[in-house]
Symmetry: C2
């Protein structure tokens, strides 16, 4: 115990913490998540300055950094919230203030909960009736069978994506280290998770010149270059794209499936924006549907497809509801998946209930149908309008070029910076796009995320702006730029 | 691409999945979580058999495998559920059916949510007013200061524990691999997480002969033996104990703090059962309080203390609410922690609201006070009664010896098995305690978890039974054993 005594003495005279940043897990230390990065902290400071009376060229900060629907004025869907209130406080089941279909739905969910309470743990993959409703939704959407036993609810889609990725790690280094193909630009959950798991990201670049399309030749380039460094295990595709807003064509999805099959990669399809398709001629096709309709051998290929309660028309981010469907998983792997998630006990039950309302909405003739459709249509038509107008607005500004926002909730315009701005950024040890976004925030109050947080081709600069804030507010704030 | 073509050809003739159990991440593959293990699957089968008309010596399966309060008949606390319903559906704020204090609370929480909606993401460490309420609760409980900036809400305590443990990993192998001290028996979240993170568990045995006390000499033995194998980084203590139900004395906690300080180990104190103390003479002392009151140098030692909405008197497991307080963390480490959790966006907001009601309950004079106290007292007094009676019941059975359940929600009796039973278990390739628990399930309908799932001294056998089911049901079911 002599070394112990030495330590103890040191600590008594000058305190040395047990954990310093230098000895934090390097994989954790290196994680980055730009969507909640330093620019958001500065936005909060500016908001506080305005409240304390400091004069700015704008009335308030417009948060356009994160796909946080209700935070920027979107109102919750009444039916969803009624069902949650009824599940939380079943005394309301006798209240005349609630429509019969909301009550029936709450009763059905509560009947699937142990002890009739959403305060009980559910089975780890979720409440069985909700899994059945999800399978029915997928089956109806795709026209191909879906089974509840292949549905796993999770704490937002992020949790599900991390769970599947963790199973694909090899626990090895060098050229046996797991390699995961991710798009660039990408939603930074992917890069952060790969850093945390010490996996090799295999980056494939989306084609900005062709409205952020996914080129198979680029997938081939990326994987061939990576093969000496790692063991490629999966390809992640985000469709509709985040931050890039493209919607993949059916042909494109077929090509990705063929590629994944040839390269023996599991497919992770992040389809959380499946309700958010705006552009004329764009249509959402799920990877599941395309894979199944392609026939043998592709219809036996392994796929995990992710969905969320946080996006779409509902935007219920705070409930942390999500699910994924596992397709063609070997029974032993599925059993291992179920064992793994059992350690987390279960996803939040209120979030599961939100998902249920999304996949099994009121139908024609139900008392809640008209209001539900009105609210849903309103949200989606507003987003559609903003998708067009934001693109037009950006393209009307010199030095900005923005692809059509076909889907999802973001624009990802390219900014052409003069050499002077690039030098000024360097002088401040900032990336040029960070420098631009910080200036934009200070001058216009618009809070957006630098493209470097998502990845971009070297020498190009972008930012991601959500299309969530009310159009008039975007217009006012962006007009200051012009 | 030639090897690709080969793979493709193989797949066309006989399908070979991309992922088989053999190439799943070995750390994930090796995770075990007994609380939801095979005995629970068998219990579900028996339940189905009974429903389909199969005759059994018992009327129904009694689930006593998991601390799932509402599932076994505990009713939710009205105030908590009213606040959740109001937060979910603010139209109810005008309803005369809800008491004013529940409405005020909901308004206060909603005012802390962006856009006034619990459907928005909160800050990653949680809603600021809820963090403030937690800090005030801790300060009142301990009589020492607590700051909201040190409070981090999480998705159940499990999520928080995993977050802190992940930061302590070294990313290395051999004798630089992170070593984490955990009790034996322990709650299997710890062993599963260490397996997932490929860390070295440093097991210290609780002293069953002295009512599961924590002996410092045993901590010394364990760490000395581990030092050649790993880099010890932290000690986990569960108080009140799970599955062992002991409540640590203040002196004992002081000794653990001194030990952790001397050995330079961060302390993780799992205090989710802080409201569940039953035995005469037992009292809950938080590690924070003791550490602070010990003065220098101990009051600068690093500690993370965990709490949950799932246990106590509320038992709101399904909401997945939890929090932890970080004490004496270096600013750089705290910044890294906040960056890490930002990738997960935020914990479920309804779960955060449940936590708020727990730490800031109605006070004397509030309209909800009487009912709240009545409900809370009822749950805790029932548990207290069961803690005593379950112990007595088990000790009245030959071949079972059970320590006093001082706190938490579990009894962990030792079972003395005849050689014949041990042989029969071997013949079935089961551990003797698994064999016993499966027999118990088949003969009495009581579903409990084998001690091997928590760890136990070699040659001893135990099981964990929750004290949650109604006393009469436990009595009926256990009487079949006698």
């Amino acid at each position: 115990m002599s070394d112990t005594n030495t330590n103890s003495t040191v600590t008594e005279t000058s305190h040395v913490p047990v954990v310093l940043i230098e000895n934090v897990n390097p994989n954790v230390r290196n994680m980055e998540y730009a969507v909640r990065g330093p620019i958001v902290a500065r936005a909060a400071e500016i908001d506080a300055e305005i409240k304390s009376g400091v004069k700015k060229p704008f009335a308030k900060v417009l948060p356009a950094n994160i796909g946080d629907c209700h935070a920027t004025g979107q109102t919750p869907i009444t039916f969803i919230r009624q069902v949650i209130a009824l599940c939380a406080y079943p005394e309301l089941l006798t209240s005349p203030e609630f429509p019969a279909d909301a009550k029936d739905r709450a009763k059905r969910i509560l009947a699937g909960c142990r002890g009739g309470s959403i305060g009980s743990y559910t089975a780890s993959p979720g409440v069985e009736v909700i899994r059945q409703d999800i399978a029915a939704y997928i089956e109806k959407r795709d026209g191909v069978p879906s089974k509840s036993e292949d549905i796993v609810l999770c704490t937002g889609a992020s949790d599900g994506i991390k769970t599947i990725l963790s199973m694909l790690m090899t626990g090895k280094t060098g050229n046996e280290r797991a390699g995961i193909m991710i798009p660039v630009p990408q939603y930074p959950l992917y890069s952060a998770t790969l850093t945390e798991y010490n996996a090799q990201p295999i980056r494939y670049f989306m084609n900005e010149e062709n409205n952020w399309s996914l080129d198979i030749s680029e997938l081939r380039r990326a994987i061939e270059e990576a093969k000496s460094k790692c063991l490629p295990r999966a390809i992640c595709v985000i469709n509709p794209g985040n931050p890039t807003g493209q919607v993949l064509t059916r042909q494109n999805i077929e090509d990705v499936i063929k590629f994944a099959h040839d390269e023996r990669l599991m497919i992770l399809s992040d389809e959380v924006y499946q309700h958010n398709v705006y552009a004329k001629g764009s249509e959402f096709f799920s990877f599941k549907k395309v894979l199944m309709e392609m026939g043998a051998p592709y219809n036996r290929h392994e796929l995990a497809s992710f969905m969320s309660a946080s996006k779409g028309f509902m935007g219920e981010c705070g409930f942390r509801g999500g699910y994924f469907e596992v397709v063609n998983f070997h029974p032993s792997v599925k059993a291992c998946l179920l064992k793994t998630i059992s350690v987390k006990l279960c996803p939040p039950v209120a979030g599961q209930a939100v998902i249920d309302c999304v996949v099994n909405p009121p139908v024609l003739g139900d008392p809640s149908y008209d209001l539900f459709m009105k609210e849903k249509t309103h949200v989606l038509s507003q987003l559609k309008e903003k998708a067009t107008l934001v693109t037009e607005l950006f393209n009307s500004i010199e030095g900005i070029k923005c692809n059509t926002v076909q889907g999802a909730m973001y624009s990802f315009p390219q900014i052409f910076l003069p050499p002077k701005a690039i030098e000024a950024a360097k002088a401040k040890s900032q990336t040029p796009d960070s420098f631009y976004c910080f200036s934009l925030l200070e001058e216009t109050g618009l809070c957006v995320v630098p493209g470097s947080g998502f990845g971009q081709k070297e020498g190009t600069y972008h930012f991601r702006m959500t299309i969530l804030p009310p159009l008039e507010e975007i217009r006012i704030q962006v007009n200051i730029v012009i």
